[in-house]
Assembly symmetry: D2
Homo-oligomer: 334 residues x 4
C-alpha cells in the first residue's frame, strides 16, 4: 500500500503533459486525497468562483500516477475501495457561462450570464446526508450522500493534453456517479505508465450535473490497481458487482449516447458470445442509460446492463473486477 | 365506467385530425384495449415489418376520446389504474432505417440499412417476465415485465396533426416507462374535448428504445380521467406517489433534456415556492433523468424529482393525482 | 393563366388540413399575391409581434392550390417566373423566444427573452435595395434585394398537418433564398391534388435567418406549374439554369446537412450515371451548402452542385426546368 | 524574410506541446512549404490511408514558429501573401470511419465502414484546375483550383495540446477556404511566442469537406506576420479586402453556427459602434455563413459580413490587414 497526499503545489490540471508524482505497482493499493473542484477556496456564499478561481485552474487533480509496466495497448483497472468525504462541509455554485441551461462559451447566445451564486452544504456523516439550504427562502432539505469522483482519467492518445474539465475516450471529467465505492473503472492505456489522476469529489450529484456544479468536496480515497496487458478498451468501461457499464463522452448528447450503446453492444458480442444483432436487441430491452453530464466540454452518458441478463461463465476483462474485490477485501481485513 | 374495445377499422394513426370514437365525462373511468404497434401482424420471425406493415400504418392508437368540458387552456389528467398485457406473446424487431444506431431518414448516411430481424417473446404472467431468445445462438434470458404505454397524447396545438410515431408538447410517442400503472399523466388541452388517444403497449423496454422497437404487445388498460380547468401544462407532466416528472421531446437530445429540466425548475418554482435559482440548484443535485427514446422523430427525456426533497403542504396540480388515486381505489374495491 | 389574390379571410396557416382555394391545370401559369409573415399588421416600430399577432397565426399562406391529376407518388414542379415586392416598405423584428441566438421553446434555458424590437425598412425598387436604419444609432446602410419565398410546400405525407412555420420533407418554411425568380422547386406529392401553398416573402435575408425574421414583405408572384408523373422526390429539390440543389430540413443542423448531402449524392448517382462513391467524392469537392435557417422548428440547409461539373446529356427530372423556362418565356413574351 | 522548409523528421502533429523550429519577428515575412495531409505517402489508387498512414500521424504541420514578443492576451495576425500548389498532382480518399455521411468514432453506429477508396487528381497550373476522374466510370471533369490551408493554429489555452485534426478556439483544422491568398487570419495568443503552425494544403474543397478529405496537396506558402498587443480574439477572425469573418468550431453544428454568429455580432458592436440588437438585426439580413467542415472532431462554420454594409472610418483590428497588405506588396515588388 502506498499513500499520497498532495501538497498545495502538487496538483495537476490536465490529463497528459505532466510528470508523475508517484510510481505504483500494478496489483497494488493506493490511499490518497483529492481537493474539491474549487481548490477549497470557496468557503462562504460570498466566495464567487469568478472571483476566487483563476482561469484554467478549476478542478485540480491528484496525480498523475505512473503504473509500472503499463504500456499503450494495455488497459488499466482502478477499483474504488473507499471514497469518503473528508470534510464536514461542501459547496455548490453557479458559474457564469457554464451549465446546461445557460448561454455558454460553446452554446453561445446573446444573453447575459445567469446570476452567480454559492450554496454551502453541511455534511452529516452520521445521517450520510448533506443539507440543502435555499438561499431565497428558508426551505431546507436533506439529500442522501452518494460520494464519487467526477474525474478520473489517463493521459490521452496521440500526444494530446486535455484540461481536467474534459471527458473523452481517456476518461476524465465524466461526472458519472457510477465511479464510486465498489466500482472498477477500466481505461485504455495510451502512454507508458498510463499516468492516471483523479479528483473532483462529488458528495452527491443529480443526473446531468445540470447547473454545472455538484455538491463538491474533498475526498479520502483508496483504490486498488490492476493492469490488463495487451487488451485495450477504446472508451471507459465500468464494472461493479451487478453491472457492466460503458461510457460515451462527446457532443452532441446523442453521439455520447451512441458511443455508450455501441460500446456495450460490441462488448457483449466480444465478451459474451452474442451476435451483434442479438446484443442490439437485448441491450434495447434491458439497458439503463443515466445521463452523467450535459455541461462539460463533452457530454457523458453511461449505458448499464445488469449481469443477470447475460450469459454465464464469461470472465469479463479477465476477472479483473473480482480480483480487485478480493485484494481490497484482504486489504480492508488487514 | 365506460368501456371501449376498438374494431379493426376503428384505430387512428394521428394525434388530431380524427373524429372521436367515444365521449367521456371528466372525473370518470375508462376500460379499453390497445393493439400492438404492428397491428398484431407480426406473429413469427418471418413477418418482417417492411413486408407486413403499410407505410404510415405503424403504431395504431385507440381513440380519440372526447372529454366533456375540456377546452383549450385546460389540462387533462389521465391516471393509469391498470396496464396489463393482454397476450401471452410479444414481439420486437429491427426496422430498416429506424433506430438509434443506424442510418435513418433523418440521420441520413450512405450506409445500407442494418439487417431486418424479428424476435418473438414468450410472456409469463406468473413470473411477470418475458423471455428473450437469441436468434443466432441458443442463449435465452428472462426479463421482468414493466408494462406501459409508449404512446398517449392529445390533439396538438395550432391545428397540427401529427403521426402517432411523434412525441412533442402534446405527449404522443414518448416511449417513457413512467407512463405505467400508478402514474398520472398531465397533458395541456389544445382543442375542445382534448381528443386523447393511447396505444403502443410495451411489456418492457430499455432506456432510449435503442433499436427503435420495445417488447411490443396488446394491452388491457383502465384509466381514470380528470380535468383541471384554466391551467395549462406546456409540456407533459407525470406524477406518481413518489415523484414529480417533466417530459421534453425534441431534437437534438440536449434540447429534449433542456426542455425537461427547465420545465421541472419552473414547475418547482411556481408550485413549491422556490426561487428559480434555488430550484436550479436543488434539481441539479437530486434529479433523475432517464432517456425515454432516441429513435422517434423527436427524442424524449424525463426529469424526475422525488417528492421527499420538496417543500410540504403544496397541492400539486390541485391534488389531481391523489383524487384519481382515490377514484381508482373506489373503483377497484367495487 | 389563372390569377388568385386572397381575401383577408382566405389565408391558410398549415400545410395539409385545408380545402383548396383554386384548382389549377398541370402545365399552367398562376399569378398570385402573398401577405407578409405578420399579416401586414406591423407597420411601425411600436407594433410588437407579441402584441399584434395571435398565437398560431404567424406566416399566412396563399393557397392551397389543387393541381389536377396530381397523385401521391408524383412530383410537383413549381417554377418561379416572377417574385417581386408589392410594397415600398418591409419589416423585420425580434420575436420573444424565437431565433438562433436566444433561449427558445425548444432550446429551453433559464434566461429571459431578449428584447423585442421592430425595424422598418424602406424599399427602393429603382435601386433594388432596402435600407437598414439602426435603432440605437443613426447608422443606415442599403442592402441589395434578393426577393424569394421563405415558404412553399405541399400537404405532408401520412395525413399529417404542419404549421406554416415548419420546414420538412414536404417543403414548407425552408427560408432558402434559392426559392426565387428563375428557380424550379420540386416537391413530392403526398395527397390528391398536391395542395401546395406559398407565402413568407423575404425581400432579403442573410444565411440562417439568424434573428428568426428576414426583411419581410408582401409579394407579387407568378409561377409555372408542371407535374412529373410516377416519380417522387423524397426531399425538396431545386433547379435553376446553373445548379442542381437538394434541401434537408431537420434537427440537429448536422442532420439537415446529412439529408441534403445524401440526397444530392443519390440524385447524382440515379440521374447522372455516377457510382455512389464517385458521387460522394465529386460532391465533396464541388458542393456549396448554404445554411437557410437555424431558427424554425426544423433547420434547413441546401446543397448545390453546379451543372458544369456533371456529365452531359442527362435530362434532369425529365427536363421539367427547361420546359417551365420555355413556358414562362412564352408567357412573358405575350 | 525568412525561409523554412521542413526536413522529413521536422513535422509536428499537435498544436502545443512541441518546441519551435524557428523564431520570427513580428512584422516580418516567412516563406515556407507544407506537406499534404497524408505526408505525401499516397501516390496511387492502391495506397489506402489505413495501410500507409500510422495512427495519429495524419495531417503533418509545418512549425511551430515562435513569434518574438507574442504573449498571452495578444493577437497574432497571419496574412497569406501566396498559397500555391507545389505539385502537379493531388489526392483525395475516403477514410474508414471518418467523414460526414458514415458511422465514425463519435457518431458511432452499428454499420461497417464505407469502402476505402483513393482518387488521384492531375493538377493543371495553366488552367488553374484539377481533374476529377471517376473510378467506376470514365467520366472526368475539371474543377477550378482554390488553394488554401485547411489547418493553421496556435498553441491552445490552458496548457492543452490538441491533435492537428482538431479545430477549436485556437484555430487548427478549420478547413475553411477563406484561409487563402489575400486573407489575414487573427488568432488569440495563449502562450509565449504564440507557437503557430500550418499545413493541410487543399487545392480545392467543397463546403463541409463531406467525405472528410479535400483535394490534398503540398503547398508553397508565403505569409506576413503582425502582432497586435494587448488585444485577444476569443475565436479566430478572418479579414480580406471585402469581408470581416468570424469562425466557430465545435459540436453540434448549431453550436459552431452560434459561436460564429455571436462573435460577429459582438465584433460589430465593439468595433463599429452598433448596439448588440442592431448588430443582431444587420447580421441577420446580410451575413453569409459557409460551412467549412462537418467531419473533424469539431465542426466549423464561418460567418462573413461584407464591409460595404458596415459603418465607415473604423480601423478593424488596428488596421492590421491593410498593413500586412502593404508589407506584402512591398515584398512582392522587390
Amino acid at each position: 500500500m502506498k499513500e499520497f497526499r498532495p501538497k498545495s503545489d502538487q496538483y495537476c490540471w490536465t490529463f497528459g503533459g505532466v510528470d508523475p508524482v508517484l510510481r505504483l505497482e500494478a496489483h497494488s493499493i493506493l490511499r490518497t486525497w483529492t481537493e474539491d473542484a474549487f481548490s477549497g477556496k470557496i468557503t462562504s456564499e460570498k466566495d464567487f468562483p469568478s472571483k476566487v478561481i483563476e482561469p484554467y485552474f478549476t478542478n485540480p487533480q491528484t496525480g498523475p500516477f505512473y503504473v509500472e509496466g503499463a504500456e499503450p495497448g494495455d488497459t488499466l483497472a482502478i477499483h474504488f475501495i473507499r471514497v469518503r468525504p473528508s470534510r464536514n462541509w461542501a459547496v455548490s455554485t453557479t458559474v457564469p457561462l457554464f451549465g446546461s441551461l445557460t448561454t455558454t462559451k460553446y452554446t453561445a447566445l446573446l444573453h447575459d450570464a445567469l446570476p452567480e451564486k454559492v450554496w454551502m452544504y453541511k455534511v452529516s456523516k452520521e445521517k450520510n446526508s448533506v443539507t440543502f439550504q435555499a438561499s431565497d427562502s428558508n426551505f431546507q432539505t436533506d439529500i442522501p450522500m452518494h460520494p464519487f469522483h467526477g474525474t478520473v482519467g489517463v493521459a490521452p492518445a496521440g500526444s494530446e493534453v486535455r484540461s481536467s474539465l474534459v471527458p473523452e475516450a481517456f476518461g476524465g471529467n465524466m461526472d458519472s456517479p457510477e465511479v464510486c465505492e465498489g466500482s472498477t473503472l477500466f481505461l485504455g492505456v495510451n502512454v507508458k505508465g498510463a499516468l492516471f489522476s483523479l479528483g473532483d469529489g462529488h458528495y452527491v450529484q443529480g443526473q446531468g450535473e445540470v447547473c454545472g456544479v455538484a455538491v463538491e468536496g474533498a475526498m479520502e480515497t483508496e483504490i486498488g490497481i490492476e493492469l490488463i496487458k495487451n487488451r485495450y478498451v477504446e472508451w471507459p468501461v465500468i464494472e461493479n458487482d451487478d453491472y457492466i457499464m460503458t461510457v460515451g463522452s462527446y457532443r452532441p448528447l446523442e453521439d455520447a449516447f451512441r458511443i455508450a450503446q455501441t460500446q456495450m453492444i460490441k462488448c457483449l458480442a466480444s465478451n459474451y458470445g452474442l451476435s451483434i444483432m442479438d446484443a442490439y436487441q437485448l441491450v434495447s430491452q434491458v439497458n439503463e442509460t443515466p445521463i452523467a453530464n450535459v455541461v462539460d466540454p463533452n457530454y457523458t452518458v453511461v449505458t448499464k446492463v445488469h449481469k443477470k441478463f447475460l450469459p454465464r461463465g464469461h470472465n469479463f476483462m479477465g476477472g479483473a473486477h473480482n480480483n480487485l474485490r478480493k485484494i481490497s477485501n484482504d486489504y480492508q481485513n488487514g
